[in-house]
């Protein structure tokens, strides 16, 4: 910190005392100071509120159960590196993958620039790193500029794909209203941000020629060195200063808006893709998670293990999931990670043949339900306390929460019954979300806890239970073999 201050002073303020009589430089100093104060206040408020919102999401995710799963840490990091950071699974579809890559890499690269923007903003300096980094600075900023142009191209094509070409997966029924607006808003934000970057750099390039003392040489920037003079050449210095400040503030304000918009939007995937790929299930896709509690009970019934009497007498537990409280927190993390791209739904055989099921909707419903519960918990309204838990001084917590609703108010039975467990959705997801896992948990709740579910399945259950076969056929299981041997002889 002190090093930075010292360098800052060296850059601007050494001559300050000598020029103290100079009114102009006092005004300029005050202007910088006021900008610094405003910046610190705005940044503090933006980061603070964003942090507050992220803590709420963390709380909502942790409404889910802790489901202990075996995890190979090396493989988990590998998934983070290749699938989240490296976007490996995006490249199953080349065109969106490349356009998305432009925006993603530009986003990552802009983070480097943000370091300088913060230093400039807090200390009221201008392009702090330029004099120190020299050619490297020109290289870094040029790199960001080229990526920004590519990101601009990507953003425009994405807007066209969404709104003019009408890619079917963006226009399914669950995308009506907010999800569609959300998808467009972020692209619009992206364009504003890029306008900010190029106004700032473009005007700066021109100003460097007019006022080299205040605008340190950045070298020839890849885009702004020609775009700047082309757009802003010939404008008065005062106008240029205004454009440069406008661009700088637009850029950083869009970053703050984006940060605070994230928790309300599908774009949370840019952060949550990393933990989600880390915590993703590592088993073969076709393996359904075991239920040890039921296994042990059945083993007890079969006399394979000693029956635990105390467990027998305990209240019959609920099996499966009917709400976010009975899903795992990994399921809810996955729901918040979903960016509603719809690759899952576009490959779902049930959805393709116009059944009600859409794997994307399952994830969106889980997230929306978690949000609803989160908001109700925030309200502290005692109406949401489970009736038998109400009383003087009892406050609303997730343990006593009951609003009379469940996930089944969001997801219909018909949707979960339509699933063929084909794993196409699991395979398609670029960030390792499994919509199949919550579907199986919902089915388990329906069958095991409610004793409900499709009546067509009852003969199958009975047949397996009583005849050890999925079909109720009285023949011997090896009748085919005996017949084959007989016909051969």
């Amino acid at each position: 910190m002190w090093d930075v201050r010292y360098m800052v002073m060296k850059q601007y303020d050494v001559s300050f005392l000598k020029k103290v009589s100079n009114l102009k430089s006092i005004i300029s100093y005050l202007k910088r100071m006021i900008q610094s104060i405003i910046f610190i206040l705005v940044a503090g408020a933006a980061l603070g509120y964003a942090g507050f919102q992220f803590m709420k999401i963390r709380r909502n995710i942790l409404l889910g159960k802790d489901e202990p799963t075996e995890r190979d840490t090396a493989k988990a990091w590998q998934n983070v590196a290749f699938v989240a950071f490296g976007q490996k699974k995006m490249f199953k579809r080349w065109i969106p993958a490349i356009l998305h890559l432009f925006i993603y890499v530009a986003f990552l690269a802009t983070q480097i620039e943000l370091i300088e923007i913060f230093i400039d903003g807090v200390f009221g300096v201008h392009r702090f790193f330029a004099p120190y980094l020299g050619v490297l600075y020109t290289g870094i900023i040029s790199f960001i500029e080229i990526l920004s142009v590519l990101a601009f191209v990507g953003t425009v094509i994405f807007l066209i794909r969404r709104n003019l070409l009408k890619v079917p997966r963006f226009h399914k029924i669950e995308m009506k209203g907010w999800p569609t607006l959300d998808g467009n808003l972020i692209l619009f934000f992206e364009i504003l941000l890029l306008i900010g970057i190029f106004s700032m750099n473009g005007a700066d390039t021109v100003l460097q020629k007019l006022d080299p003392a205040h605008y340190p040489d950045t070298g020839n920037l890849a885009v702004s060195s020609w775009l700047g003079p082309a757009l802003f050449g010939g404008l008065s210095e005062g106008t240029l200063v205004l454009i440069e400040r406008f661009g700088w503030w637009l850029h950083i304000i869009m970053v703050f808006v984006f940060l605070n918009y994230l928790p309300k939007s599908k774009h949370l995937h840019i952060l949550l893709a990393f933990p989600n790929t880390f915590y993703a299930n590592q088993n073969e896709k076709a393996e359904v998670e075991n239920m040890p509690e039921i296994m042990n009970e059945v083993k007890g019934m079969m006399g394979l293990v000693e029956m635990d009497e105390s467990a027998m007498e305990a209240e019959l537990p609920e099996f499966g999931a009917n709400d976010v409280f009975t899903l795992s927190w990994q399921n809810i993390l996955a729901a918040y990670t979903c960016t509603e791209c719809g690759r899952c739904t576009s490959v779902c055989p049930a959805n393709t043949t116009e059944k009600k099921l859409s794997p994307r909707k399952i994830m969106m419903d889980i997230r929306d339900r978690a949000e609803e519960i989160g908001q109700n918990l925030d309200s502290g309204n005692p109406e949401f306390i489970r009736e038998d838990a109400r009383g003087e001084g009892v406050t609303l917590t997730k343990e006593n929460y009951d609003d009379g609703k469940s996930l089944f108010d969001y997801i219909s039975r018909e949707e979960i019954h339509a699933c063929t467990t084909c794993m196409a959705c699991v395979e398609a997801c670029p960030v390792l979300i499994s919509p199949l896992d919550p579907i199986v948990k919902l089915r388990r709740y329906e069958v095991l806890t409610e004793s409900a579910g499709p009546s067509d399945w009852l003969p199958m259950y009975n047949s397996i239970e009583n005849g050890a076969s999925a079909w109720q056929i009285p023949d011997d299981r090896d009748k085919w073999a005996k017949e084959a041997i007989a016909s051969n002889e």
């Binding site: 359904v288 239920m291 079969m302 043949t353 794993m423 395979e427 919902l442 499709p454 199958m460 397996i464």
Partner: protein, 255 residues
Amino acid sequence: MAEFAAEGRRPEILFWVGCAGSYDARAQKIMVAFAKILNEVGIEFAILGNEEGCTGDPARRAGNEFVFQMSALQNIEVLNGYEVQKIVAACPHCFNTLKNEYPALGGNYDVMHHTQLLQQLINEGRLKLQGGGAFEGKKITYHDSCYLGRGNDVYEAPRAVLEALDNELVEMKRSRTKGLCCGAGGAQMFKEEEDGSHRINVERVREVVDTGATILAANCPFCTIMMNDGLKAEEKEEEIMIYDLAELIVNNNQW
């Protein structure tokens, strides 16, 4: 298996037939074909007969974990009783459950899908395919079952077998990781499809028709049944024949 045990012998492999293979008339033919191949190659194998039970796959996926556990634990008792080590299943659902889900319940076996064994036998030279067979040069398309393909990442073994049969493999629009389900999985086999525009097997059969192939190769008795129904619904059952890989080999070698 009981006969082997009575003689104090142990077969090279246990052939897991499954419910479809045991009871469905179409699927039984696949089992006969696979058994014929094992006999011709000279692999000593056994089946469990009435001691075999449903692996529990449809019950588990329907959500009925109790029924799954009962059936699975019963099977594990039998398998462990015979000290079974190597199992070959001619159904990808059985294969997956035995291989991936039984270990958590105390059943650990070396499990193969029959197409994997067929590829291995061809590679080792134990299974020789006669040249100039019925399928040489014919257009064949291959349907990836979900539980062998996506579920267990086995895409190449069945294709290698087809290649050995020396025919022209034409891939469908959706194949390998993108392969479209036949509509039977997740216990759908045992209930009516939910309301929609058309049945999933019909959607898949239309893709088969688009390839121009006259033969559809499959690796799963449930897919075979579903696709057969789909071909009938689309009135293509005269033009396109569906066979399991084991049947293709038996036909090719005229066993």
